[in-house]
């Protein structure tokens, strides 16, 4: 496919009309909570865009993110974005293998130096020289430090690339870190989730293609349009939280009535993601709709944030035993202090010299 044609021209040859662009952009705009009128403008820009080169590197990961992205649906409107990009390197999807595959990566970097988008999936192990994850004899760190300086922007796909994810979970045996811990001089868009919502990934790419910029990011580097609201803010069970109606177990009356799952450990209030609005599996549902609390997978260190089944208001560590230790220690110290105070009292009483008239007259005692 020639790269100097616009997307509209390329796709028109395949019978994909501008109405499809409009429709795609309408759904993206809806997803990104943009005013519906933006869709028309976005469609114009997307139609006029050139194909964007993308290099996708997989590090310490489970390929769940790629599964989420590529197996999201049968060929559909969202896949239009795949026509808009030229995925120049992706180990799992690349047709060739071995030296050929490595050659393709080198070629992709050279051909689009400073222009391609680098998508990274997985965390990077640093311990023991990064030997815990290597590709073609090179460590992940080595590859990232080689490729990233040539990219226009980096999209960290999934919680591992964005925050270290499960590989980084306590005790972090491989010394895993996030992309942002290594790459400091490139714009990095974090698209966390375990896995991330596929349309969120495509939405970020669509934003880059149509606006030519990276979207507004929050303090954790996540696009605000998708991660601006908490699950709790957008949850259809929110009214039950406000009414104080909570399921106490997964099979009680409250659970059957669809009440709030806060007490069963739902992390919705502290989790920022678009699950409650975009939903999963082509809009079927999302975890809370299926009766299970949110795990908080798009937040840093979600794996170590206490039990998935402990309410957010409850402590993540053992406090009761520490309180008991505190009471015991307090009692011991208190009694000791009390005894000390008593002996001071006795001593004071013993050594106390009563005031005499002579004292008042200022005469020295004889």
């Amino acid at each position: 496919m020639s790269d100097d044609k616009t997307l509209a021209e390329t796709l028109a040859q395949r019978g994909i009309s501008r109405r499809s662009f409009l429709k795609f952009c309408a759904s993206i705009a809806s997803l990104m909570a943009m005013p519906p009128a933006m869709a028309v403008e976005m469609a114009e820009k997307l139609a006029a865009a050139r194909r964007q080169s993308v290099v996708y590197l997989s590090f310490q990961e489970c390929t769940g993110c790629l599964e989420s992205l590529t197996r999201s649906h049968s060929p559909k409107l969202e896949d239009l974005i795949f026509d808009a990009i030229s995925l120049d390197y992706q180990e799992t999807l690349v047709a060739c293998a071995g030296h050929f595959a490595e050659h393709i990566l080198k070629e992709a970097i050279e051909k689009n130096d400073g222009k391609f988008i680098l998508m990274v999936d997985g965390s990077i192990p640093l311990k023991d020289g990064g030997i815990y994850s290597t590709i073609a004899g090179r460590t992940n760190l080595d590859i990232l430090e080689w490729v990233a300086p040539h990219a226009a922007a980096v999209i960290a796909v999934g919680s591992c690339a964005a925050f270290g994810g499960i590989p980084k979970a306590n005790p972090n045996p491989t010394g895993a870190v996030a992309v942002s811990d290594i790459i400091k001089d490139k714009p990095i868009i974090n698209v966390p989730g375990c896995p991330p919502i596929p349309v969120v990934i495509t939405g970020v790419i669509a934003h880059y293609l149509t606006m030519g910029t990276i979207p507004d990011l929050d303090e954790l580097g996540r696009p605000k349009v998708f991660f601006g609201d908490s699950i709790h803010d957008r949850c259809y069970r929110r009214p039950f939280y406000d009414q104080g109606k909570f399921a106490k177990s997964f099979d009680d009356e409250g659970a059957r009535n669809g009440w709030c799952l806060f007490e069963l450990g739902c992390k919705g209030p502290t989790t920022h993601n678009a699950c409650a609005t975009t939903k999963w599996n082509g809009g079927v549902s999302f975890p809370i709709e299926s009766g299970h609390g949110c795990l908080g997978c798009s937040e840093p260190d979600f794996w170590d944030a206490g039990s998935f089944y402990t309410a957010l208001s409850a402590p993540t560590k053992d406090v009761a035993n520490w309180a008991a230790i505190g009471v015991a220690a307090g009692a011991a110290i208190g009694v000791a202090a009390g005894i000390a105070n008593r002996s001071t009292k006795t001593e004071t009483k013993r050594t106390r010299k009563p005031l005499t008239v002579d004292d008042l007259k200022g005469k020295p005692k004889s």
Binding site: S20, A26, P36, S74, K76, N257
Partner: protein, 147 residues
């Protein structure tokens, strides 16, 4: 509860969903947008998926807006339904994916929804297309007369 049989089967009455009362404010917004359309010619749209709508709100909205004269289907990578409601100038646009899931849903307040209009670039392509068809037809015609 170690086996599947240990999980009790409990039959529940389907309880009606309580309305949030989101339909009425939405209808008022439509009223404002329609007024604006008439006054300034500026189209407006409301993204139905951006609002926490329950089934009752949805039905209420459908009931009040009603069914109009125009029903169109656009087939662009999955169907899109474009229907004018009984309130002229208020359109209900639903975009479906190729597996019939709803991608986006809008109430558009406009004289004609954007997706029904032909894009100028598409019209140019149509013209080229038509001309090439005419050309081949006239060539065929010529060929026939020659015989």
């Amino acid at each position: 509860m170690n086996s599947l049989k240990g999980i009790p089967i409990i039959k529940l009455d389907a309880t009606p969903v309580m309305s949030h009362g989101n339909a009425l404010p939405l209808l008022h917004e439509i009223e404002v947008l329609l007024d604006q359309l008439i006054a300034t010619g500026k189209s407006g749209a409301i993204d139905l998926r951006s609002l926490p709508m329950l089934a009752d709100d949805y039905e209420k909205l459908k009931e009040i807006l009603g069914e109009g004269e125009v029903k169109a289907t656009v087939d662009a990578m999955g169907p899109s339904q474009v229907r004018e409601t009984a309130i002229h100038g208020v359109w209900w646009v639903t975009h479906f994916n190729s597996d019939a899931t709803v991608l986006a849903e809008f109430i558009e307040i406009t004289y004609i929804p954007e997706i029904l209009q032909t894009h100028p670039a598409d019209a140019r392509m149509g013209l080229e297309n038509l001309r090439s068809r005419l050309m081949s037809t006239s060539q065929v015609d010529k060929g026939e007369t020659d015989v």
